[in-house]
Each structure stands twice: as C-alpha cells, then as structure tokens.
C-alpha cells in the first residue's frame, strides 16, 4: 500500500480505507486507518454530528458510531440514509455502495487544537 507523505493528508481517504453495506434504508460504512497513529485523527474527523452536518438531505435518521479500538476502526450506522433503500431508491446506486467514498471524501480535522 502506498503511504502518502504526512504533509499530503487532506482527506479521510489519505489515512483510511472503507466499505459500505446496506440493510433496508440503513447504510453502514466501516472505516479503518492504515497507520494506528492516525486513529485519533480519524475519530476526530468522522463523528455522527459531522455526518449529519455534511449530508443533511441524504442522512435523515440517527447516526450511530461504533468504535473498534483494538482494530483501529469505526463503524458508522446511518439510519434513513439510502433514499428509501434498494426497494424504493431511484439513485443509480440504490444500495449506497458508493457511500464509502462519500465518507472517504471528507476533509480531515487536522487542527490539533493546541
């Protein structure tokens, strides 16, 4: 795997990889950092509040974040986030398979707050 320089980290995709799945109208995206040192940065950048703020029209339900500390991963569970789900959605991607790249496209919260 390529390791981009630390000065080139702007997006979640620069430090993590992700996979999306669907159940009904609920989407889940699991996200894992390549380097455990970046886990705090990921946790700071991908929060339920941020998801609701960034995608208010898409993610209409509750967002729950499960933290898997020892594997350095997050599981985002986003309710009412699939435009009705595979039964009703008219999105070309009715399963929301691409939602992983929606999350990976978020900018990192690199402000260390020092």
């Amino acid at each position: 795997m390529t390791n981009r320089g630390r000065n080139q980290r702007f997006f979640v995709r620069d430090i993590a990889h992700a996979r999306a799945g669907d159940k009904g109208n609920t989407s889940n995206v699991n996200i894992w950092v390549y380097d455990p040192e970046d886990f705090e940065l990921l946790k700071r950048s991908v929060t339920p509040e941020r998801i609701k703020r960034e995608f208010p029209r898409l993610v209409r339900g509750t967002v729950t974040r499960h933290v898997v500390e020892h594997l350095h991963g997050l599981n985002l569970v986003m309710g009412e986030a699939l435009e009705g789900g595979v039964n009703a959605s008219l999105n070309l991607d009715s399963h929301g398979k691409s939602w992983s790249y929606l999350i990976l496209g978020l900018t990192l919260d690199t402000d260390e707050k020092t």
Partner: protein, 448 residues
Amino acid sequence: MAIANGTFRIGTGAGFSADRLDPAVDLAKRGQLHVMVLECLGERTVAFAHRDRMADPRRGYNALLERRMSALLPACRASGTVIITNMGAANPRAAAERTRDVARTLGISGLKIACIEGDDVTKLVQPDQPFMDEPGTLADIGRPVVGMNAYLGADAIIPTLEAGADVVIGGRLADPSMYLAPLMRHYGWQNSELAKLGAGTLVGHLMECGMQITGGYFADPGMKDVPDLADCGYPIAEVSADGSAVITKLPETGGRVNEATVKEQLLYEVHDPASYLTPDVTADFSRVTVKNLGEDRVRVEGAAGRARPEKLKVTVGFDAGVLAEAGVSYAGAAAGERGRLAAGIVEKRLKEIHRISSPIRIDLIGAGSLFATAGKTRTDSEDVRLHVALRTTEREQADLMLWEVESLLCCGPAGGGGYRGVITPAVETKSVLIDRGLVKPTFEILVT
C-alpha cells in the same frame, strides 16, 4: 483426501447469485475442501425467484444452477467435497431434481442430494403481522405478495449432513448457517457452546460474500492495489476445533488476503459489532482479532456468542410494478448545460403535460448522480448522460417515460445521442418475525 494440518476446510464457490464460476471450479479441484458453500440468495433475489416459479412451476431456483452443478459436481465428487447451497431459492425441490438430472447426465451414480423445504411460510404469516423494523403491518402494503421465506439456521442443515448428503440444496438458508452447520457436525459443537457458534458464524460471515475477502470490492489504485483481479481466487477458511480460523486462497490465483481485506468484510452489513443476529446465535465480533500471517493468510479468532434470537426473521416479497430507466448523452462544450436543459424539458413534459405522479428522478451522470442527494455535483464535465428513472405500477407510464426521453433526440438540446431505455420488473421486500415453533424444516434425499 489429504488435508493439511488437521483443520476443517471450507471454501466459497459463489458469494452472490451472479458470481463467477471458473474460480469455483479451480477451488473445487485444488482446494482439498471438506465443504464448498455457494451463497446465492439476497432478499430481493428470493422475491424474483418466486415470480419465476409463478410463471413456471419447474423454475424458481438460481438461473445458473445447471451450469454450476455441471462444472462442480465432477470435481467435488472426486475430492469428496460436500456442496451446501441456497440456490434452491423459491423452489428447492425443483433445484434438487434438476441437480439429480445433471448428475445422471454426467454419469455420477450414488450421489445423495438433500432438498431442504419448510422455509416458505406464506401460509403461516397473518396479514396483521407488524414489520420487524418499521411501523405498520403487512396489510398496509396493498400490493400482491409474491412469497414469504423464513431464515433457516444450522439446525435445518445438520440432519442432512448426518444422513450423508453429498449436496445440500435449500431455499432461504441463512448465509452464515451454511458454514456453521458443517462445523457443528464435524467438531460436535453443541447448541450450548455459544462461543463456538459465534466463531463459526464469524467464519460464515467473512466467507459468505466470496471474493469480498480476497481482494474483490476492495481495490483502489495507488492506495489499495490488488494483483490480477481478473483471475481472483475464492476464499478458503481453515477452521480449527476451537473455532479460530485462517482465511486464505489458492496459490497462483489473483487477489489478496490481508488484514485490510478481512477487516472491511468483518463489519460489512453489520450494525452493532457485538450483536450480529442469525437464526443460530447472537454473535459478538467486537473483540475479534485479525492477524496477518503473510502469503495471503490471515488468522481470525476471538468471536463470542450469546443466546440466539427468540424469533426467526421472515422476508416478505411484494410485486412493486416496474423500474423504468432511460438516458441520452451529451459531450463537448457546455455538455452539462445542455444536459440540464434536457432534464428540465423531460421533467416538465412528464409532470405537467402527462401528469405522472409516480416517483421520478432525473440525474446527470458525470455531473453528479450517485452523490446528488449528498450535495456533491460538478459543472465542469464535458461528458454527461441524462438519466431518468421512474418507479410505477402502471406499465403505460413506464412506456411513456421512455418515449419522452427518446424524443429528445429530435426535440431536445443540440448534440444529444446514445438513447437507451429499459423497463425491468420490480419487487419490494419487508421483514417480519415468526415464532420458531411454527417453522418446521424438512428434508428429503434424492439419490442418483
């Protein structure tokens, strides 16, 4: 059969209804497998299968069943590998009979094919049954039911293995249960050994989507490169008596197994990692460890389990009319503006002139389609495709939409080309719960 290091070897030969066949044949020949599982059923797949069966009582099983069995039976027979599959879909009996015909044609005699029935609970579910995860009851849908299937667990599969089945064919067998059942049978795990049931369920969960753990659904050039995806290998699980397992694949196949591929699959379609519900157990994946052993080998262990859910999940399929899709492309200067003009024309004609009230969506592929609702669009594309989608229970509306989009070729913006339109049948699925006592799986063995 020579088995390496005393583990129980399970391979995946399909992870969804349209999965590849040639790597499954390779795995059957070279994998030294005890069991090969072909998982081919999604919630909507089974609803479509019911429609097929209504049209022809001899159908309603996986459309690739004959091809898969023709290719896999000789290799599995030679290696003593048991096949377990839910390719029976809405008609396990017809699938078993067809498999028997295939085996006879191939000259395979004495093959025992188990057919599991009892997942079709259409006659057992009441119309006032509330939905599992949303308000309302089945009676609220107001559309014809096409089928209702309860998820069957390992306890429906184990008796067929005890009866010596070489091929086990069911309908709505729960995905991980097809892996857990042979493990319980081989290692003598009891229903009370919840940690082992959790471990076996973890194996099934990781394996059930086939190549999603060996490099499929994973590659991202420059970040996550995967070698030779065109020749990707299906996964193998080498499972020990305590339920710990090594996930790997055949040598000389494409793809990759590493901690990253395993972790992405670990929580695929999982909500709370500590509560993964199956008919067999409430599995807990929250403390699972994932360790890279090198050479496409990853060890997973640490799954736990709690008591299984009291009730079984039932998928109810309804006829949902059709999904109509049509498109025209625009390229070159101001392609996006011409595409947006076309979108406005279609919207006005469908809604204001033809008064279509069914849900319509109009996207500009290349300028923001998948992420449109997320607010991600772009205006600089010089290659966009107008895409119009409509769900309706009235076929005439679907035909009318296609006609309107096609008419853009002469009546729309400049330079539009490449019209295509397609109308496909649609189903809708809902979930309800049923008492376990009402669901009584049975099996029968057909012998060639």
